[in-house]
Every structure is written in structure tokens, then in C-alpha cells.
Symmetry: none
Subunit: 402 residues, 2 copies
């Protein structure tokens, strides 16, 4: 037996066809007052026109009832079984800050904290210091600490009391449990969860002591904690797996980071929605698989703003011709999870998607929405199978068996 990924990879051949995956983050929703979801109640003539020529279905991102984080959500859309390929919190935090994490590097999420005498942690968040203060503290630490016990250390400020530490060097493994007492009280130092993590735990604790020393005259942030030790997982690259040249157009660092993790080239897309659409057009000749990420549908869902999420769908709809006019051979439109405004959070509901190519069996859909997709001919499909289906429609897969 072999995995789905190995199966598809083994069938892949090179080709000239072009594939495009448009991800509306958090696309799936729940019915609002008029009975339609955010997507269903949006004015979306371009999406509907495409749906009429496409095949529709629902994506199960992780498994029935399971609410996906952004990491598993995207890995699944990129063809990786999210239960097989997991991404640690430290790594995702680093990706979110746009930090380049290499193989063997270990990331940890840091908190600035208030320490009392005798290694007692008085406030695990140092009173949630302002982000500006955080930046100043990180700058100070950078001046003083670039190496600990032979390991290189890089530091990056986050919001309020949060920062990220990246450790590089021989013998560092992420098999380390948090240096964090969880509640105010005596410090709990980093401990290896496996002998392989011994050196990393030792380096982490030495780093924390050095930070205490450098910040000894600061108040309230006179120390730090570290948790979520994680290395970039070994993920085979899309290019190697499927003989494609993949590129990503995204505005948010975390999604660029996820795309980089699977071997995509990151296109210059700026900070605005239009930028991601234009980035595809300007790089059309150089790649054959484009991942286009729209963050704001998820953000408006998380805000609980049904109408704003609906309007965001409408804005994407109005920009869609910039992609369809490039005439990709295969276009898939989906979300990485649902984010119903009513829940103000990611949810477990399957995600509507459509797939258009010259080789679909159109099912006569009148629109692109949750309920039309639930009746779609593609059924409810594990999201990590989408990549293989796109490759099939791009005529990039040979026959299995004779």
C-alpha cells in the first residue's frame, strides 16, 4: 500500500497546461437572516457563470466535525494529508512573521514576562507590554545575544508581549517541552521529551538565563519564557512531487510562509487584494500552478460581520475575470475551512468548491454556494485529493495499471 500522495506523484508527467487554485480563506458559512449564507447571498455573477460550466462539490478539510487551523487547511488544499503532515505552533508563528526557517532550525514562541527573585515568574505576559516596547526589547537583546552555547539565535518581535526565537546549529532537535510554568509561580525550565532534545533544552534554558541578565534592570519585562518548540516539518516539495512549477500570490506572511514550505515561488503581490490577482497575470508565463490567497473573507467572518464577508465575496467576484481571462486549463475555487460570521471563528463545516476545465461534466448549477455544492457531482471529497484531481484535469496523470 502507498499513500494518496505517492499514488498521484507516481502517475505524474510533465505538461504545458496551467492550473490555478483560488482560495477564499474561511469561505464556508452558515445561513444569515434571509436564509442564505454569506456566499449564497452575495451578488456573484462571475462565480455563478463559472459554476454553470464547472463541477461542484464539498471539501472535507481534515475530517468530519473537525475544525481546521490555517496550517492544516492549506496543506490539505496543496495535496498533503493534514493528519500526516503537521505544523508546530512555533513554526506557524514564525511563518506568520515572515521569518525564513531553514531545515534543522528550531522555532519557539516567546513571551516577555515579569520575573521575581529566586526564579519565580510573577506575570507570564509582563502586563502585556505595548508592541513598541517589545520591539525595543528585542533590539536590545539582538545587540547582546546572537549566540548561546554555540547555537545561533535570531529574534523577531510580535504583538504585545510575544516574540519568536529561531535557534540554528548542529544537534538541535525540537523534542523539547515548554520552558513555561503555565501559571504564575516557580519557573519550569525546558525539558527534553526525548534524548534527542537534550541539547536544545540546554540551549533554551541558557538563552532564558542570558535574557534575564540582559533585561535585569527592565520593568515589567525583565525575563522571558519559551514554548512550542518546533522545526519546519520535512515536506516533499510540490515541484518534486508533481513535476510542476508552483507560485503563490498572497498578501499575508503566514500564507506566503506555508507556500514557501511546500516549495512554491512567492510572487510580489503587495498588500492589497488587487495585487494578488495582478501578480498572477504578470507572472503567467513563468509558472504552471498558481495559488491565489484572499485573506479578507476569513477576517470578516472572524469579526462576525456577515455583510462585510458577503461584500468581500462580491469584490473577489468582480476581480475574477482577471484570472479567468488568462484561460487557465484548470481552475479550482475553494476555501481552506469555513468561518461563519455567526460563529466568529473557524468551523468544521465542509467547504464549497468548484472545479472548471474542458473535461468536466457540468451539473447545471445555477450558482456557487454551499447548498448547490452539497448537491454537486463531486460529492464530499477529502480536500487533500483536490491536487490530484486538478492534475488529472490538466492531463498530467498517466493511467494506473495496464
Amino acid at each position: 500500500m502507498f499513500s494518496r500522495m505517492e499514488l498521484i506523484s507516481g502517475l505524474t508527467v510533465e505538461g504545458k497546461s496551467k492550473m490555478l487554485l483560488l482560495v477564499l480563506d474561511g469561505l464556508g458559512g452558515l445561513p444569515g437572516e434571509d436564509g442564505g449564507t454569506e456566499l449564497e447571498s452575495a451578488h456573484r455573477p462571475n462565480l455563478d457563470a463559472l459554476a454553470a460550466k464547472a463541477e461542484l462539490g464539498m471539501l472535507e478539510i481534515v475530517d468530519v466535525g473537525v475544525t481546521p487551523g490555517s496550517g492544516p487547511g492549506h496543506l490539505s488544499l496543496f495535496g498533503y494529508d493534514p493528519l500526516e503532515f503537521e505544523i508546530g505552533r512555533g513554526i506557524l508563528e514564525a511563518l506568520g512573521l515572515g521569518i525564513d526557517v531553514g531545515p534543522g532550525d528550531v522555532c519557539a514562541r516567546g513571551n516577555f514576562a515579569t520575573w521575581g527573585d529566586g526564579d519565580v515568574v510573577v506575570d507570564r505576559r509582563a502586563g502585556r507590554i505595548p508592541t513598541e516596547k517589545n520591539r525595543a526589547l528585542v533590539e536590545k537583546l539582538r545587540q547582546e545575544i546572537s549566540e548561546v552555547e554555540g547555537a545561533r539565535v535570531r529574534l523577531y518581535p510580535g504583538e504585545e508581549h510575544r516574540f519568536v526565537a529561531v535557534f540554528s546549529g548542529d544537534g538541535l532537535k525540537d523534542a523539547v517541552f515548554d520552558a513555561d510554568p503555565q501559571v504564575a509561580g516557580p519557573m519550569k525550565w525546558a525539558t527534553p521529551t526525548d534524548p534527542a532534545g537534550e541539547r536544545m533544552a540546554h540551549v533554551a534554558n541558557a538563552f532564558i538565563r542570558k535574557v534575564r541578565d540582559v533585561l535585569r534592570d527592565e520593568r515589567p519585562a525583565n525575563g522571558c519564557l519559551l514554548r512550542g518548540f518546533s522545526s519546519a516539518p520535512h515536506i516533499p516539495s510540490l515541484g518534486e512531487l508533481y513535476k510542476i512549477r508552483p507560485a503563490a500570490a498572497a498578501t499575508y506572511p503566514m500564507y506566503k510562509g506555508l507556500a514557501r514550505l511546500v516549495g512554491m515561488e512567492i510572487l510580489e503581490a503587495g498588500k492589497e487584494l488587487e495585487g494578488v490577482f495582478d501578480a498572477v497575470a504578470s507572472n503567467w508565463g513563468d509558472f504552471d500552478y498558481f495559488y491565489v490567497h484572499v485573506k479578507y473573507t476569513d477576517s470578516r467572518g472572524e469579526d462576525g460581520d456577515f455583510d462585510a464577508k458577503r461584500r468581500m465575496v462580491e469584490e473577489v467576484d468582480s476581480l475574477l475575470p482577471r484570472l479567468t481571462s488568462l484561460c487557465p486549463d484548470v481552475i479550482a475555487i475553494a476555501g481552506d475551512h469555513s468561518t461563519p460570521a455567526r460563529l466568529k471563528a473557524h468551523s468544521w463545516h465542509p467547504v464549497p468548491f468548484m472545479l472548471a476545465s474542458p473535461y468536466v461534466r457540468p451539473c447545471g448549477a445555477k450558482s456557487f454556494g454551499e447548498r448547490e455544492c452539497a448537491r454537486g457531482s463531486l460529492g464530499i471529497m477529502p480536500a487533500h485529493k483536490l491536487m490530484g484531481l486538478m492534475l488529472a484535469h490538466a492531463l498530467r496523470l498517466v493511467k494506473f495499471g495496464a
Copy 2:
């Protein structure tokens, strides 16, 4: 990689929401003369009204084409993969008789049999002696045999020639093959299938010799056979897995036994249908997951009585408001397998189900029936995933990954 059960268990948090699973045993059917199934042709206004606000689908209990027994049917509905968690026949027989089976106990199904000279089995069923005779024989054996080779023995009469033996004591394992020649002829004694089963096989054979001795003057039942040696499987309890307080309202011993096996509290529900509905209401405050079992839909299906099964659905429909008026946060209605009257037996057909909660995407169903469910937005779902879906709708699961 981990199993579905481990995945869901790891995501579970405590909560105050309440879940209810109503099982109409053998619910699924086949079309009768007027073209509708037993369920479809029933007058079921309450089920239909709930369906209009719910999501519908079909449950695949074990696997496509596989007819489930009651054990796998229920384990699957309770969230256990029925191919991973198997229940031996001896255990199920014991549960069906309402026998309390502890950890380490080994159950076996017994037959009273007619033995000839020289350990030859002449009739494996002793001419199917009347149940009354069976009771008298078991009583006689109880007087004479309470222990064999240091193991405690408990005996329970069944129907006709069948009884159940439960062996308790150190070193007893169910790795034993039947003490039963299968056809009339020389006795085949119990043999260990694994060295761990040696003591149990030895005890079983000594027990059979003792029975021969006690019943030497009886005719035709002057001996016995034992088969289906099995221990209660180690099944992690629902409470531990999902941080819930589960309770069962059922009238039949086997279903109470199955519920006890997975750690449910058994409510006092009497012997009548109304009792199970009222038991839920009277215990509503003390639990947060209720399993309600209606046996008679299956019984009427097994009788081959289409109309009686249809009427049983109607009776459940009329009682449904006693459950819905309790306002559970999540209500799932399903069968544990199909029992079409036309087949007079369990069948492999997927089972219609619906799930109602404030967080569904209603698909505008006009009724609750096999064909409406086959078009439902939840698709065809492995039944053992229902528990996780109920927990999701009860807002009891946290996000997977960051």
C-alpha cells in the same frame, strides 16, 4: 498518524451543551407496494418538521455491502470503528441476557447436547430441549458446579438448548478455540489458539467433563459444548474519551449491556416504549449525552411485517415531542442498521439519519426518509464519525492545528 477516535478525543473540551441520539433499531427499509419504504410511507409530521430544519445524510454502519449485527451497529453509532472494536459472540449473548461481565471474565456460549459413549457427541443441540428443561438443568448445574480448577463459573439459561457460561479468575484469556465438533461425531475439546489461552482451555474442558458427570442420568441433555470464548473487549469509555456524562434509555438487555460496555449510565426505563422517552426527561439535568433506543422497528422488520414497522415509526413520531421539547443542543436520529420487512433480517443498506443543531445548513428537506436522506448535504458518512460530528455541533471540539 492516529485514529479518528484519538483525533476527536484529543480535541474535546468540556461544555454544558446537551446531545441526544435517538436510535430506531433497524430503521432503514426497502420499498413496499406503494413505492415508499416503511419510513417513507409512515405518517411522521414531527420527524418531517425536524428534518426541514436539519441536515440529512446516510450512515454507512460498517462498510459498503456489509450487514451489521447489533453490536457493530451500536458501537459505530457511539463513535467506535466497528472493524477495530469487535465484540465476541459470547459477550454479546451474555449482554443479551443482562449478565454483568467484568474485566478479565471469559464468556462462552453453551449448548446442551446429547453425548454417547466414548466422548462421542450424538446431537449437538440435545433435540432442542424446551426452555423450561434448560432452566431446570442450569439450576441443577448451579447447585453442583460453582468452581472448576480454581476458576469461578456462573451459568445462565437461554432459549431452548442454549446457555451462557461466564468464567472468572486469574490467568483466564479468551484465546481458546471452540469445544465443539461442529457435526455429530467424536468430541473436539477446547484448544488454546495462543499459549495465553492454555489455562482457559484447560478449565473449559474440565467444566465440560464435570457437566457430563452431573448430567449423566439425564436424557437427551447429558452433556454440553462451549464455543465463542470471548472477554469483554477493552473499550475506552465515552466519558473519558469525550469528557461527557452519557446515559442510556433502553428496554432490552442487550442494548443496556452495550451501553454499559462503553461507560454509559443505564436509566430506569421499564419495558415499554414510552418509558425510554420519559426516562430521558426525568434525568435531563444529570447527563449531557443521551442514547435512546427503540427496539420495535427492528422486531417488526424481522417479522416481515411492513405495516407494523411503519406504525412503529408513527408511534415514535408521536412521542418525539417529548424529546424535542427538552431542547437538546444537538439531536441525531438514526438506525443502527437497516431491517427491511421484505428481507425479514438485518441488511447492508445504508441508514437514513438527520442531525439538528443551531449550526446546521438546512437543505430544505420536505421529509425524513431514505431517498431524501440519500440526497442530503451530509452525504454517505461512516457511522462511527457521527459522534465527532455531534460533538462539533455541541461546540465541544477545539481547532485542529494552528
